[in-house]
Amino acid sequence: MQILKSKAIVKTLVFLRKHKNANNFLIMLPSALWVICFLFIPLILIFVYSFSTRGEGGTIVASYGLHNYEHFITTSIYARTIIKSIIIGFEVTLVCLIVGYLPAYYLARLTTTRRVILIILLIVPFWTSVIIRTYSWMLVLGNRGAINYYLMKWGLIQEPLRLLFNEASVILGLVHIMLPFMILPIFTCIDRLDASLVDASKSLGAGKIRTFIEITLPLSLPGVSAGCLLVFIISVGAFLTPAMLGGPKDTMIAMLIQQNFLMLFDWPFGSAAAIIYLILVLIIVYFFNRVIGLDKIWSGR
């Protein structure tokens, strides 16, 4: 009898637990459905489209083959956009790392008040409109912009310099937007670093620079790699900055996809470009995972 009773209790408890979990699943359902219906299933559609053929007037004809991918790889203009995206992504990451590391180190070494203010100031541009920040460089670098105005006023040049619409201006604009993405993870990582290690190194006779090179720098690497991954992935898929600050030679992969979908109405080819971009992103994440370990990055935060 006793055993039966306890069994019944256990059963109801198990049921209740399951029931509770069921409730939890129920409330997670809307979000899961949202992502699956509006992102994953559409992506499958894009995948199917990438093998189809463009018909008259932008229609999609169901004759399947690899011709879109072939066209992408063999036509040098298209192949160049993906190479250009990778190069620009790489350059932006490198510049962000060089420019952003020392400020991150400085922020982590600061004490309370000033540090809180500086961190908030760093998050502010994070949320400030990307399109306006990109546009602001047009005011600074343009033919009638601030730099040319002063150079001409001081008589250093006669004709305005062409500072806009080239690869350098794209990189400048992207670095401007991506810099907080690099500084914040590095800051968090150095901030969480065990201070006693630094003290130990110093009391054992290592100088400031040696302590930095042998202790702080290696221990900040998870933050560095998190920042690099974020900056690289986001800048490879950048659209606004190359579209606004770049010249015709600076077409990046996101622009190519947009052109094919919204201007040329060649959806099959655009889909192929999108799939190639997605594969590229997956490869980058995979290599980061293999070389550095993504779990290290998450725990580093």
């Binding site: 979990n21 992102l39 502010v124 009638r144 606004m244």
Partner: protein, 284 residues
């Protein structure tokens, strides 16, 4: 001997000071780089001429007046706000529910589920844009305002999820159990106990979502219809033809909105944490 040691120490402290200042200078330059262009935009919105020149000869509000009289621009501003509010509400609801379910359940593949929920954040906006566009096209639905809300909710709810989830981990679950023990059912407990406790982070998440929706361009251009053009779309098409000072005015407005809202949101989260800390202190 003693003197040389003293001198050495002095040199060392001087070097320390110098190094400190070097870092400070670099950091200041980086911050200048981050803020200067935006400040130029704000200043130029008060400038009498469209050409950049400083110092400003005199402050004027004439561009604000011209901006105010541009019906299409004001309309796009309204569209953006309505879209931002709608998508913030939708993403607030689904994001909060997802966070509660996610924090309170244990199952295999929880990490994968988390990654799925956050995936709209990681992918380039153009991918989300064209994917939803071709899906809608495949189903033979026209582009419309609800489509924009659906899309923006997709792009913004991961932020709500992240913010609410962080606060939920810090929530003391015993108060919920107390409520249940006192006879409230799950729904009552949720509305009277759980929701009021996590409300600051829900609102903060929705404000973040609103900010992102207001600023979103890349995906939105795939879903937009001529009558529902948002501000970024309008700015982009204006810039294609000419650089007009009206953009400076619009930029100033967007910058103010996108700076204030997240700061309010941060305040909300911070206050909640402060309240919690003071409560803990009292308990001690």
């Amino acid at each position: 001997m003693v003197r040389s040691l003293a001198i050495e120490m002095e040199i060392q402290t001087k070097m320390k000071k110098f190094k400190f200042n070097g870092l400070l200078v670099i950091t200041a330059l980086v911050y200048l780089f981050l803020f200067l262009p935006v400040i130029v935009v704000i200043l130029m919105s008060f400038h009498p001429d469209p050409i950049v020149s400083f110092p400003i000869p005199r402050f004027t509000l004439k561009w604000y007046k011209i901006f105010w009289e541009d019906y299409a621009l004001i309309q796009s501003l309204k569209n953006s706000f309505v879209l931002g509010i709608c998508s913030a509400v939708v993403s607030g609801i689904i994001g909060t529910l997802a966070a509660i379910g996610f924090v309170r359940s244990q199952f295999k593949g929880k990490q994968i589920f988390g990654a799925i929920i956050l995936s709209p954040m990681i992918l380039s906006g153009i991918i989300t844009g064209i994917a939803l566009l071709s899906f809608i096209n495949y189903l033979n639905f026209p582009k419309s305002f609800p489509l924009q809300v659906v899309g923006h909710a997709l792009l913004t709810f991961p932020y709500v999820f992240l913010v609410v989830q962080t606060q939920l981990y810090g929530l003391d679950r015993s108060i919920e159990e107390a409520s249940m023990n006192l006879g409230a059912n799950e729904l009552e407990t949720f509305f009277y106990i759980t929701l009021p406790n996590i409300l600051p982070s829900v609102i903060a998440g929705m404000l973040f979502g609103f900010t992102i929706s207001i600023d979103e361009f890349v995906a939105t251009q795939c879903w937009v219809t001529p009558s529902t053009e948002t501000m970024p779309i309008k700015i982009f098409s204006m810039l294609r033809y000419e650089v007009t000072p009206k953009v400076n005015v619009l930029g100033t407005i967007i910058v103010l909105v996108t700076i204030t809202l997240p700061l309010v949101a941060e305040k909300l989260i911070a206050r909640k944490i402060n309240v919690k800390l003071s409560r803990e202190k009292k308990n001690k």
